[in-house]
Amino acid sequence: MFDLILRNLTQRKLRTGLTIFGIALGIFAVIVMGGMSEHFNLTFDRSISLTADKIRVLPEGGFFGSTLNESKVREVRRIPGVSDAYGFFQAPLDPESLGFFGGDMVIGLPPDKLGSALRDTKLTRGRLLVSGDGYRTVLGSNVAREFDLDAGDEIEIKSKRALRATSITHSRNFTVVGIMEYTGSFFDNGVIIPLDTAQKFYDRGDTVSLILAVPDPDTDPEDLAKRIELSVERVITFSPSQLRKQIEQSLIIFSLITISAAVLAAIIGGLSVMNTMLMSVSERTKEFGLMKALGAETRDILFMTMGEAALIGMLGGIFGIIGGSALVFYLNSYLESQGTVLFAITPRLIVIAIAFATLLGILSGTYPAYRAAKMSPMEALRYE
């Protein structure tokens, strides 16, 4: 029967081509939007795995609330079950931008804790920070590419300090001592400098943005996170699982928005399949009547018509994936030169796109197929 399906499709080349194009456009949107969502999923996943063993201790009001004094680090470190704790400072590299998605960040960390924070991340150039490094920095791979920097080069960092009603911008060159490999995490957009230098440069005194607490290997991080909250005043904690849950939630919302826009486009493509199939079934009324008179079962007619719709869907899916991937490849290579990557096409996304396109074809073909299968053979044969 498959040869008959192919024969029918190739008989009406322009119409079939246009319908496939409609589906392909929808799937193109699914690939581009889905690729963006997948990239964020992957980035956050890898990023979390880099810090998944640590508890995040934040000031009570969160990032934008009160600041966290570095003395709290010692308090946290004293709690039984905490193997180590250190302050973490962050500020946007460009003070004019808030730097949420993909923005470059200045990260302040105690040099001796870098190994713990970055875990097994390797360097492609130079070395990590060591104690005593002042205005020196280790760059994330994206930042290095964006500014075309190598070990030994200098990068200008600006800080904006509030002074009465106005603000003054300071700037200073930092020497690059090392460049990290690509991690898929926020560290790729990080400009890591020693914590004490950061506090001085940004005029933050002894404060940090958050504290990272490393639990003992045999301590339950969930339990420890609660104990930290109880023992240290005016802090809130995010255990690794809470952090994962929170990020997952925001990712789901982001994915829902992007994917639903793409799905809408694909559904419009699906309607074009339905339209084409209805026309095709109507044109072939007599043919179906004849097939029934020759003894075709309802399932034979259903298979032929739905198979045709499914094939249109699948072909649309394949072309959509090819087109979407080409655009994503082009955009990614352009964005890479700008220091960021925005899309990731995963095997999962391709499987979902193909399955979705085929399913869409089948669903859109169901009603026309039902109409074809339910025709009375006599009436169909008389149809002109």
Partner: protein, 231 residues
């Protein structure tokens, strides 16, 4: 007549259509038997009920009352789901307008009837070639209907009707769209098939055809007006 069971038995067959609120009696208490290998024609003016009768026998339509038996099976009582199997196994259709599928070649048009009967591919090709050779279309097997003359198309349609070795072949005005020379050739072909043992029932208003059949049933106003057998 012999005492072997007839292949086709039509018993008190009636069909009433509703045209709006007015009942139209298309068939009225028709009964007859057809023996195996018979070559018979049903003639009558337009609207006499010939085609309606053929639709009932061919399981394309349901009668209002009465029964049709093919090889003793009451086909008018079978479930809708069993109808396709009976159409495949018992009945071969030949239509006035040939009704070949335009996108398929002659060979594929014969082949498709056997696909629905789930005949394996190799066997289908073998049978289709044999049948097309038998009707003199061996060198036209790869031509599409648009590349064939009316007579050639009808011959392909006859080969298709024979493909599943049906009990009875129902031909509805098989020469309605061909010239007289082709008409004679098709009638001779059908006659030859009946001599080989095929049971063939032709609906026609062309007396040139009916004269060549051994038995003629004449219909008028939905009923049988006469049933004559020539010797």
């Amino acid at each position: 007549m012999n005492d072997i069971e007839p292949v086709l038995q039509v018993r008190n067959l009636s069909k009433t259509y509703m045209q709006g609120k007015i009942p139209v009696h298309a068939l009225n208490d028709v009964s007859f038997d057809v023996e195996k290998g018979e070559f018979m024609s049903i003639i009558g003016p337009s609207g006499s009920g010939k085609s309606t009768l053929l639709s009932m026998i061919g399981l394309l339509d349901k009668p209002t009352s009465g029964s049709v038996f093919i090889e003793g099976v009451e086909i008018t009582k079978v479930k809708e789901s069993d109808a396709p199997r009976l159409r495949r196994e018992k009945i071969g259709f030949v239509f006035q307008h040939f009704n070949l599928i335009p996108t398929l070649t002659a060979l594929e048009n014969v082949d498709i009837a056997m696909r629905f009967a789930r005949v394996p591919k190799n066997e289908r090709k073998k049978i289709a070639l044999e049948l097309l050779t038998q009707i003199g279309m061996r060198d036209r097997v790869n031509h599409k209907p648009s590349e064939l003359s009316g007579g050639e198309q009808q011959r392909v349609a006859i080969a298709r009707a024979l493909a599943n070795r049906p009990v009875i072949i129902l031909a509805d005005e098989p020469t309605g769209e061909v010239d007289t020379k082709t008409r004679d050739m098709i009638v001779d072909l059908l006659k030859g098939l009946s001599e080989e043992g095929h049971t063939i029932l032709v609906v026609t208003h062309d007396t040139a055809i009916s004269q060549k059949t051994r038995r003629i049933i004449t219909m008028r106003d939905g009923g049988t007006a006469s049933d004559t057998i020539s010797h």
